[in-house]
C-alpha cells in the first residue's frame, strides 16, 4: 500500500514537472505575472510529492518489505538499520530517486528565496529546473521504477554489496549528489540568462552561493569517498583515477573554476560568456558522471547493473540537455557584450589564469577518461589510461596554479603591482626554497619531486598566512588583531581557509608518497616486525561475529622504542548474503602519520599474511579537505552571499542592472 502511494506520488510529480516547465514559460510569453508566479507553488508541490515517494521507498527498506522487487534485490533483514537506509540509494533505482529528490529540493530552495530574484527570471530558472526533473522522472518511471512488486514475496532479500556497508559510504553518495545536483541550479541560472540574453554582475551574485554550496558538497563527497577507499580497500591507496572518480573530479574542477570566474563577473563585469559556458559545462560533467555509472559503457568499481535501454535513455537526455544548452550558448553568446578591461598584472588576470589551468585540467581528465573508449570505437584496440598520465597532468597544470595562487589575493583589481606582492611574499619564497633544499639534502624517495611538492605546499600555506597578516596587521599590532580580523569579510576568510587547505593536501600527498614504509609479512602469534620507527607485534587472532558477517580479527601491539603507542585491530570479514570478503584495515592516526595494518589469509599452521604500513601525514588529505569545506561554509555565511538581506536589497535598487528586461 505504501509502495503504491510512492508510485502514485512519483507519477503526480511527473505531471507537475511538466506543468512547471510549461506554465511559467507561457506566463513569460504572455507577460502574465500570475502564471509566472504559479511556478513557486508548482515547484513546492513537486518537492512534496518526490519526498513522499522517496519516503515510501525508504519505508519499504526500513520494514524490509520484500514484496517490492527493489528491496529484495538490495536489502536483507540482518543488515544494521543504517545500511538498510543507505541501501535505498545504494542501487540504480534508488540513487535516481535521490537525484530527483535533491533536484526538486534545490528547485524548492530557489523558489523559497522568493522575492530575492525578479519574478520573470525566477520563473525562467524554475521552468528549466522543472524540465530537468521531468527528464529524471521519465527515466525513473519508464526504465527504473523502484516500486515494482514481486509476487510471491520471498522471505529474504539479496543484501547489499558488503563493500558498501560502511559509514563512510553511507554518506558519500548523498554528499556527491547534493554537489552534482547543486550545479543544476547554476545550470538553470545560466540557461535562463542565455534565454533572457543578459548577464549582469547581479546574476553572478545570485549564482555564487549555489556554486559555492555545490562545490562544498562535492569536496566533502569526494573526500569521504577517498577516505573510504583508504581504509576499506585494504592497501592504503586513496585515489585510483577510476573513470567514475574522474567523473566526480571534473565537475569539482569546473565548479572551482566557476567559483573564481563568477567573482570577476560580479566585481568587474567581465568574462561573462566564459562564466556562462563554465556553468553549463560544470553541470554537463555531472550528468556525464551519471551516464558513465549508469550506462555501463566503461568498467568501473562503481558500475551498477547494465541495461542498454537505460543507457539509450540517458544518452538521449544528455544529448538534449548538454547539446541543447551548448547550442543555445553558441546562438546567444554574441549578445553577452564584453566589458571591464584589465591589465596583465591584476586580480582579474590571476583569476583568468586560475580558470585556464583548472579547466585545462578538467579537459585533460576528460580526455584521459574517454580516450580508451574513443580508441576502441575507432579501431577496436583496447587500452587503459593509467595513473602516470593523470599524475603528470596534475603536476604540470597544478604547479603553476599553486605558484600563482600565492600572488592572486595580493593583487589589486584592474591593475596590480607585482613588486608589492613580492615584497609581502618574500618570507614565503625563502621558506619554500629552504624546504626544497632541505628535502633534496635529506634525499627521500623521489627526491626532486618530493622537494618540489613540499616547497609548493609550504609556499602556499606561508603565502596565505602572510596575506592574512597583511590584511590584519597581526605582526605590527597583535593587540588589534581580533578587531581587524572581524572587519575582514567572511568570504575572504573562507578563501584563506580553502587555499590553506589545498596547501595541507599537497603536503599530505607529497609526504605520504615519499616516506610511506610498508611491509608484507607472514607472521605467527608473537612475531614482531619494525616498520619505520614502529614495532608491530601480532598479539592475538580470534574469530569475531558481526550482525551479518563473521570475521577474523587480529590484534597488533604497536610500540616505539619499547613504549606503547597503539593497538590496531584489523579484520578480514566474510559476509553471508551476498557471499563476499572484505578487509577492514586497522588504522591509528598519530600527528606524524597513520599506522595501518591489514590481516590477510591464513596460510594454515597459525601463520597469517599481514600488511603493515606507516604513512606519514596522510591525514593531511582529509584535514586539508576539511579546511576547504569549512572555508566554503564560512564564505557561504557571508552576508553578501545571501540575497534578500537588506544590504543586498538596497544595492539592487540602486543599480538598474536587473535582468527584468
Amino acid at each position: 500500500m505504501i509502495a503504491e502511494l510512492g508510485h502514485f506520488s512519483l507519477i503526480a510529480a511527473l505531471v507537475l514537472s511538466l506543468m512547471g516547465l510549461v506554465v511559467p514559460s507561457v506566463g513569460i510569453r504572455r507577460g502574465d505575472t500570475r502564471l509566472m508566479a504559479l511556478a513557486d507553488p508548482i515547484v513546492f508541490s513537486q518537492f512534496l510529492l518526490v519526498s513522499v515517494a522517496f519516503g515510501a521507498l525508504t519505508y519499504a527498506y526500513i520494514t524490509s518489505d520484500f514484496s517490492v522487487l527493489n528491496v529484495v534485490a538490495n536489502s536483507h533483514t540482518a543488515k544494521p538499520m543504517l545500511y538498510k537506509i543507505s541501501g535505498v540509494w545504494g542501487n540504480h533505482e534508488g540513487s535516481l530517486m535521490l537525484w530527483a529528490l535533491i533536484l526538486s529540493l534545490f528547485a524548492a530552495a530557489v523558489a523559497f528565496r522568493g522575492t530575492a530574484l525578479p519574478l520573470r527570471f525566477r520563473a525562467r530558472v524554475l521552468s528549466v529546473q522543472s524540465a530537468l526533473l521531468l527528464g529524471f522522472l521519465l527515466f525513473i518511471i519508464f526504465t527504473s521504477n523502484p516500486f515494482l512488486r514481486l509476487d510471491p514475496a520471498p522471505l529474504e532479500g539479496n543484501g547489499l554489496n558488503p563493500l558498501l556497508q560502511d559509514p563512510g559510504l553511507a554518506f558519500h553518495p548523498p554528499m556527491l549528489y547534493v554537489g552534482y545536483v547543486g550545479l543544476s541550479v547554476v545550470f538553470s541560472f545560466a540557461v535562463a540568462a542565455l534565454i533572457e540574453g543578459e548577464v549582469t554582475p547581479l546574476w553572478a551574485r545570485w549564482v555564487r552561493p549555489w556554486t559555492l554550496a555545490a562545490w562544498v558538497f562535492l569536496t566533502a563527497g569526494i573526500a569521504l569517498g577517498s577516505w573510504w577507499a583508504y581504509y576499506e580497500l585494504g592497501w592504503g591507496g586513496w585515489w585510483f583515477w577510476d573513470p567514475v572518480e574522474n567523473a566526480s573530479f571534473m565537475p569539482w574542477l569546473a565548479a572551482g573554476a566557476l567559483l573564481h570566474s563568477s567573482i570577476v563577473v560580479e566585481k568587474r563585469d567581465a568574462l561573462k560568456s566564459w562564466t556562462i559556458l563554465l556553468a553549463i559545462v560544470a553541470f554537463s560533467l555531472s550528468l556525464l558522471g551519471t551516464f558513465l555509472v549508469r550506462s555501463g559503457v566503461l568498467t568501473s568499481v562503481h558500475a551498477f547493473a547494465v541495461d542498454p535501454d537505460r543507457g539509450v535513455f540517458i544518452l538521449a537526455f544528455l544529448a538534449l540537455v548538454v547539446g541543447g544548452s551548448l547550442t543555445l550558448f553558441a546562438w546567444r553568446a554574441p549578445r553577452l557584450s564584453p566589458s571591464g578591461l584589465f591589465s596583465l598584472v591584476s586580480r582579474e588576470s590571476a583569476l583568468v589564469l586560475n580558470n585556464i589551468l583548472l579547466s585545462t585540467f578538467a579537459a585533460v581528465v576528460l580526455v584521459g577518461t574517454l580516450y580508451p573508449l574513443a580508441l576502441e570505437a575507432v579501431n577496436g584496440n583496447q587500452i587503459t589510461v593509467g595513473p602516470p598520465f593523470f599524475e603528470y597532468a596534475t603536476i604540470v597544470l597544478m604547479s603553476p596554479l599553486v605558484v600563482a595562487l600565492g600572488f592572486g589575493p595580493l593583487l589589486a583589481w584592474k591593475r596590480g603591482r607585482i613588486n608589492r606582492a613580492l615584497q609581502i611574499l618574500l618570507p614565503a619564497v625563502i621558506v619554500s626554497l629552504v624546504v626544497f633544499w632541505a628535502v633534496i639534502w635529506e634525499s627521500a624517495g623521489g627526491i626532486m619531486m618530493t622537494g618540489f611538492g613540499a616547497a609548493l605546499a609550504i609556499w602556499l600555506m606561508a603565502s596565505v598566512l602572510l596575506e592574512i597578516n597583511d590584511r590584519t596587521g597581526f605582526l605590527k599590532k597583535p593587540s588589534r588583531f581580533l578587531k581587524r580580523a572581524r572587519s575582514v569579510p567572511r568570504a575572504t576568510w573562507g578563501m584563506s581557509f580553502a587555499h590553506f587547505g589545498l596547501g595541507i593536501i599537497i603536503l599530505g600527498i607529497t609526504v605520504s608518497e615519499a616516506w610511506t614504509e610498508e611491509a608484507l609479512r607472514l607472521m605467527k602469534l608473537g612475531d614482531s616486525h619494525r616498520v619505520g620507527a614502529y614495532d608491530f607485534t601480532l598479539e592475538k587472532v580470534a574469530p569475531h561475529a558481526g550482525p551479518n558477517y563473521t570475521a577474523v580479527r587480529a590484534e597488533f601491539l604497536v610500540e616505539k622504542n619499547g613504549q606503547f603507542v597503539a593497538r590496531l585491530s584489523p579484520e578480514d570479514r566474510v559476509y553471508a548474503d551476498p557471499p563476499m570478503n572484505t578487509t577492514e584495515a586497522g588504522i591509528y592516526s598519530l600527528f606524524v602519520g597513520d599506522l595501518y595494518a591489514v590481516i590477510g589469509e591464513s596460510t594454515g599452521k597459525g601463520v597469517w599474511s599481514v600488511r603493515l604500513y606507516f604513512k606519514p601525514f596522510i591525514s593531511g588529505l582529509w584535514l586539508g579537505s576539511a579546511f576547504m569545506v569549512v572555508g566554503g561554509l564560512i564564505s557561504l555565511s557571508d552576508r553578501r552571499q545571501r540575497i534578500g538581506v537588506p544590504a543586498g536589497r538596497r544595492r539592487r535598487q540602486a543599480q538598474p542592472l536587473t535582468t527584468e528586461a
Binding site: L277, V281, A333
Partner: protein, 178 residues
Amino acid sequence: MTGFGRYIPVLIVVVILAVFFKMMGGDRNPKEIKSVLIGKPVPVFSLPALTEDKPGISEADLKTGKPTLVNFFASWCVPCRAEHENLMRLAFEEGVPIIGIAYKNEAVKAQAFLDELGNPFAKAALDLNGRVSIDWGVTGVPETFLIDGAGIIRYRHWGPIVGDSLEKRLMPQLEKLQ
C-alpha cells in the same frame, strides 16, 4: 565570444555523444578483454586427461585438419552449467569436436559435473593449478576458443554461450571455417 569559437563546445559534445552511441550498440561487454591470441597458433601445452586411464592432451591434438572448440570450464562455475546445454548441442547435433579443460577443479568434481549433465567433450583435460589457462589468456570460466584445422586460434568466446550468442556469434565463426 562572437566567432566560430562559440560552436566548439557543442561540436565536442556531438563527437563524445557519437562515441558513446557507437559503444553502447551491439552486445559489447566493457568487462571483456579482447584476446591477443586471435590468428596465432595455440600455445604449447601438455595436460593430463581428466580420467587417468586416458592419454593426456597437448597442442598436437588440436591440429586435426578440422575446426575444434576448446572449452575452459569448472564444476564450481554457475555460468558453465548454463552453457552446458549448448555445448551438448554443438557436440551431438552439429558434430563439432570439443576439448574440455577443467580449470582449477578437482578431477572427481569435474567428472561428477559431466556425469550429471552429460559429457560433450571428445577429450577432457585437467588444469589443476591454472598455469595452462594463463598461457591461453583465460580471464575466467567459461571461455571457449575456436581452433582451425591447422591449430590457429580463430575466435575466442568470452563468457557463457547462452541466449542468442550461440546463433549470432559462435555459429557464424564456425561456419566460416567449415
